[in-house]
């Protein structure tokens, strides 16, 4: 049985079952107190889950850059913001064009993806000229500039601190309003599956192998006559587009985008998620994204509970800051469990004939160049 489950068909079967189960959740009445705000059919629980899935999709796209290609980027939030803001702004711009709403919606989505593609390649082309920490700094600087421009309401488009609201009249009706939360949930699930499949495809392709090889040994790849720069740029651009896809989903789910999603802190959160889940594992990004989001929500809930408020300040102040708890949890994982959640589960199953590809994530090697 175990050998079937770890075969290719077995994995496919597990995947289909998992996605099928996730797709049925809105029709079921599962209540897990303390994890979800209500039974799984309620809009409250579904929007939390949908949000978690979009973050997981975003984390997957970051996994391509950090886990697969071994590049430490601090600018990934920029592309997520490009997706969310892009859709919101383009809908507003195209609204007076007189096209039918369906067409406007589709055109806006396509244009948003094009913008993300161009932005990703532009930033990537420049940042990839350097490696290691300098690369990280260049991506950080670009993201910071983008963040400042968004905050300043550049061109009267981004709405400053208020952000951009989704023009609901141009969005298909099935995706608008609390009553349609389950549709948005399915959309988020679809986006997660789509991004996952794209990651599998990229990682399994020849290009994915080359980019992974370049992470381990740049020289060997160069000797083979391949330019690490080109393959890295492709991965960077692809990850940018996938992040934008998640951003589009975010805009539809939340109906608004604020500058928060373009900050360096937001990218750092992605880094935390990927490491928490397990660097180098696709599943790690997904599990990390979902666990992190739900923890974040639950911890915020916990913070406002009465028994926390009654604790002395030394305890109740740190306990009422979700990010403090998550940050320290992250520090502990880095120091004591480098493989993250997936790494730990691999270690537990290894003795019982689990997967053997649980190698140490190579990205945690010295990037100092």
């Amino acid at each position: 049985m175990r050998s079937f489950l770890s075969s290719r068909w077995g994995k496919l079967a597990i995947g289909v079952v998992l996605v099928g189960f996730a797709a049925m959740l809105p029709l079921l009445n599962i209540h897990i107190p303390g994890v979800l705000p209500g039974p799984t059919y309620t809009p409250g629980a579904l929007s939390v889950l949908a949000y978690a899935m979009l973050i997981a999709a975003l984390a997957l796209s970051y996994h391509l850059i950090f886990g697969v290609a071994g590049m430490l980027s601090f600018g990934h939030a920029m592309f997520f913001a490009a997706g969310a803001y892009g859709l919101g702004i383009l809908l507003n711009l195209l609204a007076p064009s007189g096209m039918p709403p369906e067409a406007v919606f589709l055109v806006a989505i396509v244009l948003t993806l094009v913008v993300a593609l161009v932005l990703g390649n532009l930033v990537g082309a420049l940042a990839l000229r350097v490696t290691g920490i300098s690369f990280a700094m260049v991506t950080l600087a670009f993201a910071q500039a983008a963040n400042v421009m968004i905050r300043r309401n550049t061109g009267d488009l981004t709405g400053g601190e208020e952000g951009v609201r989704l023009e609901a009249s141009l969005v298909p009706e099935a995706l608008v309003g609390v009553v349609n939360t389950r549709n948005l949930y399915w959309l988020a699930l679809g986006i997660l599956v789509l991004v996952y499949l794209a990651c599998v495809w990229i990682e399994r392709s020849r290009l994915g192998h080359v980019v992974a090889a370049a992470r381990e040994n740049e020289l060997r790849v160069t000797v083979l006559g391949l330019r690490p720069y080109t393959v890295r740029l492709f991965v960077f651009g692809a990850a940018a587009v996938l992040a934008a896809v998640a951003g589009i989903g975010f805009m539809l789910l939340q109906s608004s985008a604020t500058p928060r999603i373009s900050t360096a802190d937001f990218t750092l959160t992605l880094l935390v998620i990927v490491v928490l889940g397990g660097v180098g594992y696709r599943w790690g990004a997904i599990v990390g994204g979902i666990v992190y989001t739900i923890l974040d929500q639950r911890l915020a809930e916990l913070a406002s509970s009465s028994w926390i408020a009654e604790l002395p300040p030394v305890l109740h102040i740190p306990l009422s800051e979700p990010l403090f708890i998550l940050g320290m949890l992250f520090v502990l994982v880095v120091m004591f469990a480098p493989g993250g959640i997936v790494g730990i589960s691999h270690r537990l199953t290894k003795g019982r004939g689990g997967k053997k590809d649980a190698a140490e994530p190579a990205v945690l090697q010295d990037l100092e160049a």
Binding site: E216, N217, A362, Q365, D366
Partner: protein, 235 residues
């Protein structure tokens, strides 16, 4: 002859790449043991592995003490000095600062520098990066020789030096070898002949030959393992 250092099953990795594989050898407690092999065979990596400068596995015992799990500075403080390939002097520091940095215990033997390389004393305030290759090698050797050591690890000391300087360096090494045992990596077989009594030959990351130096250098093994013949090495 007894051994000052023994390596058993030593392997080393650099950036995830296996560069030395399951190597076992002894370094004699007296005189010079030479570590030979073609370019890129893992000689420098072996020395670095002994010092803990690369990721390594296996057993290394120095004078009865296991050192394969120690941090580099602890290993060095056991009394092992290192003269690295390419000299690695601190180019931004002066000669004097380079030497001061290397002083390990209370009574460094500064006099030896005056005996072996008097010109360094005149250049004490000069930036080490502006020295010639030979002078830099003198600094590097001085760093190793001025402390009380029980073993010297010397990696390619004559690489890229003018013939005249090669003579000076060889003489300094000869003087050092009278005081303490040495593991020497050297391409110049004449220098090996002058200094070493035993050779260890590496090929493909493994030890392929161990034996007396003169015997090896006169045999056809030299050609097989090093790709040079004894006739041309002097050139």
């Amino acid at each position: 002859m007894s051994a000052i250092l023994t390596a058993r099953g030593l392997s080393a990795r650099i950036a995830g790449q296996q560069v030395v594989e399951d190597v076992s050898f002894d370094v004699a407690a007296q005189g010079v043991t030479a570590l030979l092999g073609r370019n890129g065979v893992g000689k420098s990596s072996t020395i670095k592995a002994l010092l803990g400068l690369t990721e390594r596995t296996g057993e290394v015992t120095f004078d009865g003490t296991r050192i394969d799990r120690m941090l580099t500075h602890r290993i060095v403080r056991q009394g092992i000095a290192y003269v690295p390939e390419d000299r690695e002097v601190f180019s931004q520091l002066t000669v004097e600062e380079n030497l001061r940095l290397a002083e390990r215990d209370g009574a460094p033997n500064r006099a030896i520098i005056g005996e072996l390389f008097p010109e360094l004393l005149e250049r004490a305030r000069q930036q080490a990066g502006t020295l010639s290759g030979g002078q830099q090698q003198m600094v590097s050797l001085s760093r190793a020789l001025m402390n009380e050591n029980r073993l010297l690890l010397v990696d390619e000391p004559t690489k890229g030096l003018a013939p005249l300087i090669v003579g000076t360096v060889t003489k300094a090494l000869q003087a050092a070898a009278e005081r303490m045992p040495m593991l020497l990596v050297e391409q110049n077989l004449q220098v090996v002949r002058d200094l070493a009594h035993t050779v260890i030959v590496l090929s493909g990351g493994r030890v392929v030959h161990t034996g007396p130096a003169a015997e090896f250098l006169d045999s056809e093994l030299v050609h097989r393992h090093l790709g040079v013949s004894t006739d041309t090495e002097a050139a």
